[in-house]
Symmetry: C2
Subunit: 690 residues, 2 copies
């Protein structure tokens, strides 16, 4: 990990920035994203993390804020910079040119000054073909080579031009130090083929393709085509459209080129374009083909500042950067259509409250609320991929905290959290796998409980990846990359926790998937540790809750709560029996029950098994019924008699489906909790209300 080169990506949450971050990580770089989120969304960074399966350091900072920017340089060892941040709307720039000049130039100057101070030499600059202005004013300058005289025709272009001059001036002042790649983009289009990231312009899109896409999904009435009286094959202006993934790869090529310049400086410009121009109508046709529909459009007057033809001569990049476009307009349209249909509102989450701690600039700490507050609603957090709150008909039925601090507190009781890698007790905290014996820290008398010190409940999961709901079904996917070097457990583990909220049927499903991505086999046994309280009035206690279980067969345990190997009967109502009523102090449960004592369970993936109702609970006062369903062979019931951490004893009860307690040390069950490379661990829990 420490050998990865670190690239500071300014504007890394934006359209081209986010795609470049994806390519950078793909190519073995580490990224630090800095973005003021003025015209972008943190959502793109959250999704990038899921996409690249890696944490990405994020700073919510404006480059004009010198002091904040400096903390980034102070706190990180940065190898190079890719500088996307900047205002970029041509039309807007003609209305508020001061803001464009101030932002784009001061931001760059601050960045360069800090690079100088902190000895960071390499910068790839996001310039634009706009610096050429109307290249048709010269003979033989279409396609446009880098040597074409510059002459921007709008304030946005002037700011790009000004920055190019600054870079040249700076390089000339110290040409053994600085390494600058100036990339002049032609027209970036398309989206990541994953459908996870794409262009998400604020307000009315300025660019053709996003506008077209918004028309296609019904967000806009029709496309305006600005002028069909240009001297081109169909009268509409010609642009050199380039797939954003190709463009992103151009940055990697430029970065590698700069890296090869060891002790030599450089300041050089490269066009990033395909070399092939398309008219507006040609692109429209390609997009219609991709979405299988006609896009309504209207020819309107020419737009000020538009030029007839901006087609790149990309030969220099091909020759020197060994880069060329590999995707075409049709690919871009296809990927754009995927992005648009899967994210019709871009990164905007309709009906989802993304209450991550943005006010403290702690974007990693996200509390996301999904669903309908009056019917069924869940709040989840990426600390421990935790279920923070669950509301049934507006009433909270689980315990939880408002903020991350609650979950990180010393005495925290795993409330609502994902338990992993290994839920429940491991006898003496020790186990053997493939001939090696491991010893975990002890945190529960002589045992290790709930994974001891490397518990998932305090780990920050990546994401969640939340998409706009379809038919009242909300999904949120968390990812945890848990390398063995950060754990007492062997094996690099990759874990997905997927929450699915179905408002109509008032069910919340939690699915676990895990794989060993490298290294040795690991014990695994995951669950969710929600404490329920169905009481309506006096929520200080769950007294009066009626409870039934699928089976009263239970794992016998010794004085240290380790299974003796015997299965015994416990006094608790079964599903068809009159419910057990939880009273002021009795009955107390902290026992594992088995779903079917006759089954010898040894699967690593239970997820395809039948979901069975293992516990039912009901409170007459609220009239809320809870069913806990699972694919797992066992479940612990805990009446919270030792609950603390801001709560009281018996304020909530937990149902923790999972594998058999201490199975890793019990030969008949060991296979069901041992995950090796190539295998997939899976399980599923559903909380259903009525």
């Amino acid at each position: 990990m420490s050998e990865r080169k670190v690239v500071l990506v300014t504007g890394g949450a934006g359209y081209i920035g986010s795609h470049t971050v994806a390519e950078l990580i793909e190519n073995g770089y580490d990224c630090i994203v800095v973005d003021n989120l003025d015209n972008s969304s943190y959502e793109s960074v959250a999704r990038l993390k899921i996409l690249v399966k890696r944490d990405i350091k994020f700073y919510h900072t404006d480059l004009c804020d010198r002091e904040n920017l400096e903390t980034i340089f102070k706190d990180n060892k940065i190898d190079s910079v890719i500088h996307f941040a900047g205002l970029k709307a041509v039309g807007e720039s003609t209305k508020i040119p001061l803001k464009y000049h101030h932002n784009n130039i001061l931001g760059t100057l601050n960045l360069l000054e800090l690079m100088e101070v902190y000895g960071v030499k390499s910068l790839v600059f996001s310039s634009s073909a706009t610096v050429y202005g109307d290249a048709t004013r010269f003979p033989d300058m279409i396609p446009i080579p880098e040597e074409c005289p510059l002459g921007p025709t709008n304030p946005y272009g002037n700011t790009k031009y000004a920055v190019e001059k600054i870079l040249n001036d700076l390089y000339n002042s110290n040409n053994n130090f600085w390494k600058f790649a100036i990339l002049r983009y032609f027209n970036p289009i398309g989206a990541h083929p994953s459908g996870l990231i794409g262009e998400d312009p604020l307000g009315i899109p300025n660019n053709l393709l996003p506008y077209m896409a918004q028309v296609a999904v019904g967000r806009r009435d029709k496309l305006n085509v600005f002028g069909n009286d240009y001297e081109t094959r169909d009268g509409t202006p010609i642009r050199d459209y380039i797939h954003v993934v190709d463009l992103a790869k151009g940055h990697i090529a430029a970065l590698k080129y700069l890296e090869k310049k060891n002790e030599e400086g450089i300041c050089r410009e490269w066009n990033l374009g395909s070399g092939t121009g398309s008219t507006v109508l040609e692109v429209l046709k390609a997009f219609c083909a991709a979405c299988g529909d006609d896009i309504p459009y209207e020819i309107v007057g020419r737009r000020a500042g538009d030029v007839i033809n901006l087609t790149a001569k990309p030969d220099r990049a091909t020759r020197e950067l060994e880069w060329k476009t590999e995707l075409d307009v049709a690919d871009a349209c296809k990927d754009l259509w995927k992005w648009t249909t899967e994210n019709p509102f871009g990164y905007q989450l309709k009906g989802i409250v993304d209450a991550f701690a943005a006010e403290e600039d702690n974007y990693d700490s996200r509390f996301i609320t999904l669903g309908d507050g009056t019917k069924f609603q869940a709040t989840i957090a990426n600390i421990g991929a935790t279920l923070v709150d669950l509301k049934v008909d507006g009433q909270s039925v689980v315990l939880g905290y408002d903020n991350e601090e609650g979950y990180l507190a010393e005495d925290s009781a795993y409330i609502g959290a994902t338990i992993g890698r290994y839920a429940n007790r491991i006898k003496n905290g020790t186990f053997s796998l493939n001939g090696e014996t491991y010893q975990l820290a002890l945190n529960n008398g002589p045992n290790a409980n709930h994974s001891s010190v490397d518990t998932f409940h305090t780990k920050k999961f990546l994401g969640p990846l939340v998409k706009n709901p379809s038919k009242d079904v909300y999904t949120a996917e968390f990812l945890l990359v848990d390398p063995s070097e950060n754990s007492e457990f062997p094996g690099d583990l990759s874990v997905i926790v997927m929450y699915t909220l179905r408002v109509a049927e008032k069910s919340l499903s939690i699915e676990y998937k895990a794989q060993v991505s490298g290294g040795k086999s690991t014990p695994i046994n995951m669950t969710n540790h929600t404490y329920f309280n169905l009481n309506k009035v006096n929520k200080e206690t769950f007294v009066g809750t009626e409870i039934q279980v699928i089976n009263n067969k239970s794992v016998d345990i010794d004085e240290n709560m380790i299974p003796t190997g015997k299965i015994i009967d416990r006094e608790i109502a079964k599903l068809n029996e009159k419910a057990t009523i939880l009273g002021q102090s009795e009955p107390k449960y902290d026992y594992a029950f088995v779903v079917d004592e006759n089954e010898k369970y040894d699967q690593i993936d239970s997820s395809s098994r039948e979901l069975k109702t293992v516990v039912k609970a009901y409170h007459p006062e609220s009239n809320i019924r809870l069913e806990v369903l699972t694919t797992e062979p066992s479940f612990q019931i805990y009446t919270g008699d030792f609950l603390s951490a801001g709560y009281h004893a018996r304020q909530g009860f937990a149902v923790e489906p999972g594998r058999y307690v201490d199975a890793i040390n019990q030969e008949p069950w060991k296979k069901s909790v041992t995950l090796s490379e190539g295998e997939t661990y899976g399980s599923k829990i559903v909380y259903r209300f009525s």
Copy 2:
């Protein structure tokens, strides 16, 4: 006054800025100067005040400091801006381009943003012919018209170009609001014909003329001529040199042009040049003629970024601004030579400590120390044009305060200050002049003393104008413009207080000159109110001081200290008698003596009269002898029996030469204290030590 238009002049302390301020005030504008003093000196502003006889508001602020800049816009009603501030050395700009871009561009952006916020529409921008780059690369572009394509060849030029673009972009965004005049200077040379202000480059001059001048006065060995292999008449590059006063006037012309554009916006460029090019060697020849000497020079290699010919086509300015140059290179050389010989170190004051309160950004409060600390040294302040300290052989012999606050304190005792308009008592605070009766506020029992509320001792004098000493003689000139609207006295008065310190003869001379510049006649009687203490050890008292006076005839006074009209003898030693010794509490003096009781003194200007020693004082312990000489007919001796304000009774004694007490109400003397338009009041006092 309130009808004067207010121009904010950024960089107004600099070379072109200061000359433009002079022309602006000459043309009826008020100026606010803002300057970071990075490459300029407050001295130029102090001198400008003397030159234009007017206070000039000054802010020590960098335009990049947005907050400080905003206070200027908040605190003042600004009509227009002339924007000079900026880094301007071509050579330096190639070494530290980031600083050039940051400073010149951010400063301008801040300025424009604040202009927008505060509704200030007009700006004259100090651009440069450097934006053209090498205009000889095009056919027929010498002389250079404004239409010549731009192409700066160095970072300095790039910053000017960038600002021009910003102004154009901004104008285009709101072309009914903004009025921008972009002035492209060719090569400004020369200095103000007064010799008071001129070019004072920090360090080694970058420009030809200042360098030449420094060679001429011996500060540099020889002139380097960068290349004589250009294709010009003598091989040296051709520039269009323009007298700085002409250039300054171009700004007034541009400002007036913008003013004529009432409801219309404009953004337009004008060359300011003569239209005539001179080679380096031609200028050298002209300068040699002006200074009457040969300047040693050496031909060295070409300088990077230099172009062969930069001659203006100034037709547009002639046609539209109705401006053209009126002075030529010979005039410029003559004025430069005057400036250089009178200020061989520019604004740097060698051996003079300019301890104005710059650390508090209170540049108006100046404490300036002249002379040699071990021999004879005076400190003067512009608050009251006060003598703050006087050191004889390292020993302080006068009372005074360290800072302005001391002098502004309620109980201040006029210590060291200039007393005016009217020193000493006016009976009942009333007087009649030309048939009108005036009543002053009473501040001394039934009388007005030392001008009562409008006393000069708390007024801020302009300046001082301090020049480098010649032959150990130091001069400092204060100016006070005291309009009647700011005073209880009639008539607009203009006062000069000139201190001359002669180190060799240990004398400090104070000369007063005053004229009524408008309005009615005024009473006048000025003096200096220094308290002497020649004691060496116990400076808490002057006990032991031996004193003699020219004449023991004294003005008889009533119980209110107003002359009865009689002259009486007082007990005090005359010059040829055994000295009177000042004891612990006796003798007490607060009496006016007359130099010659037989003279009927009625002159308004005593300055051409014989200087007479009127008082001698000596302290045996310090062995310091003081002689007070004056051209005045009378002198008050006060043994400080009521001294307070941080001092004790009898800690210092004052000798106050002047006109007769209450002369304004005493017919025989009234003429000597009545100043009318066309007359000059004058007097002189000398403190001499041995």
